[in-house]
Symmetry: D2
Subunit: 171 residues, 4 copies
Amino acid sequence: MNFNFKKDIKAVVSVIGASDIDKEIEKKTIEIGRLLAINNYAVACGGLSGVMEAICKGVKEKGGITIGIIPFTEKKRANKYIDIVIPCPFSQARNVVVVLAGDICLAIGGKAGTLSEISFAWIYDKPLVALTSVPGWSSSIANQAIDDRRSDMIYGVETPLEVIDDKIKLY
Amino acid sequence: MNFNFKKDIKAVVSVIGASDIDKEIEKKTIEIGRLLAINNYAVACGGLSGVMEAICKGVKEKGGITIGIIPFTEKKRANKYIDIVIPCPFSQARNVVVVLAGDICLAIGGKAGTLSEISFAWIYDKPLVALTSVPGWSSSIANQAIDDRRSDMIYGVETPLEVIDDKIKLY
Amino acid sequence: MNFNFKKDIKAVVSVIGASDIDKEIEKKTIEIGRLLAINNYAVACGGLSGVMEAICKGVKEKGGITIGIIPFTEKKRANKYIDIVIPCPFSQARNVVVVLAGDICLAIGGKAGTLSEISFAWIYDKPLVALTSVPGWSSSIANQAIDDRRSDMIYGVETPLEVIDDKIKLY
Amino acid sequence: MNFNFKKDIKAVVSVIGASDIDKEIEKKTIEIGRLLAINNYAVACGGLSGVMEAICKGVKEKGGITIGIIPFTEKKRANKYIDIVIPCPFSQARNVVVVLAGDICLAIGGKAGTLSEISFAWIYDKPLVALTSVPGWSSSIANQAIDDRRSDMIYGVETPLEVIDDKIKLY
């Protein structure tokens, strides 16, 4: 093989969202995964179900790279679309690593765990993109600042295609 | 000495809030610290400045117990009102330990770090009390649910005295 | 109450060792716990069974203070002799916090987990005392240096009383 | 691109060792890196200097894949041969993640940090291979068991080529 990550991949996108999602969020998330892979972004996520599984499914359909940071010791507990499994058996503290593994952070819906990740992405100064067309914290908090330490905002986008366009602008 | 924690202490309250605060928040926080100690609650916090220092100042004025979970390896970096220093050099992941050290969680103002702690307290099923009379995440998020996993809310209170009354009701 | 930790307590001793031990190690460990409390040392440990439970039993017999850093989210999983429970649900990474919570580290027997804690105490520059009269890593590694970063050694002691005498010399 | 990790990669090898090494260890480590890549193993490591840099240099010479789990928040602090950077800003607790990222663990020399990683690999039931022809913990502890929880040993090997042969036997 001849793997050249730095040449082939533009950036790693940390994708965060809930572990149980409905069909509509799943469909949109898979589509975002496809677009990310086609545009040469790798994806990092929590490696389990819901948004994490849907995004990786989309990425792998297009031959992209997926990194799953799971809160267990056993690698086999990652979803089947994960290429590189990083066991981080630290309960919610694994959320810190999920965020830091990316160069950009994309929120799709999400509950309390996602809200903690949005907070960390803000603190660690990662560009933040949030999908506004699905319910959950990504739409509640889009187009807002979490606090006064940064002069930018969480950038709200409505469609999968916009995610890519805006991310490229941000990064 | 004869230390009997289980007999003397009703519960440990994790107090979360910003590391830089104005005089008004400081004054209210010190007063809450005094009331917690008088009512036999121990306090856990992040062990540094701002709300963390003010709450411990109040607690120690009344001879209470303070636990500081700091994000550094050296114990001496805790504020001077901390009795028991727990170094947790895990960057923002130390927030998980701050929340879990308490039986109840009290938010006073706060920025992105506090928002992550509120999220964790919600996930770990800790009763949550938030001071509404100061700016920051404690007032923005009071009287709301973070997501649908719990049937209760973040309980908003306006005055230091109410904190104690409501906490006793919750716990 | 009137709790004055800084005045009443000379230092915190992190005690490390196996979670399953025989009667002889248990007896010696309880005796060390009593001596530590009588001499105004607080004890930090992993908060579970074996050496962790025996040391705390001894400490509490003499009215001392115990801190238990457990690898679970629920405080109730600490042994019954723990005063202050710090949940640190980070699998083996909690060992870092166990070591850092002390000003000195005392090893009693021990398996692989204890060996990781000895390594960390060495790295974090904690004075290390190891009981040589029981089997396990504390006797295998006593009177040795782990590597060349420090000019001292892991200080081997044979009896509970010697632990106290030597620790006072070290700290 | 068309990245198929599960098909292309046999296993991930966590390589552990000191951050400052002499020319002889460096040369052997680079050679092991080349052999691992040629034989379709990916490498995980701590992502910094010394053994971590040498192993990745060898891997990248042959177009292989490297994963670096660094103890900082900023990705740019990884050595230049790392493809996938996982920031794990948890001080020595990052060692847990380094070990768990691999399916097998290979120790080359090493000091106290490496000893903690050997302990964790033992606890997490990873096959352990240790290079005996260089000084440090890998040779001190080779062909021994850390404790009685496993029936196998840390498997000592003398040459880079043996590492590959033995690892294939183990995994």
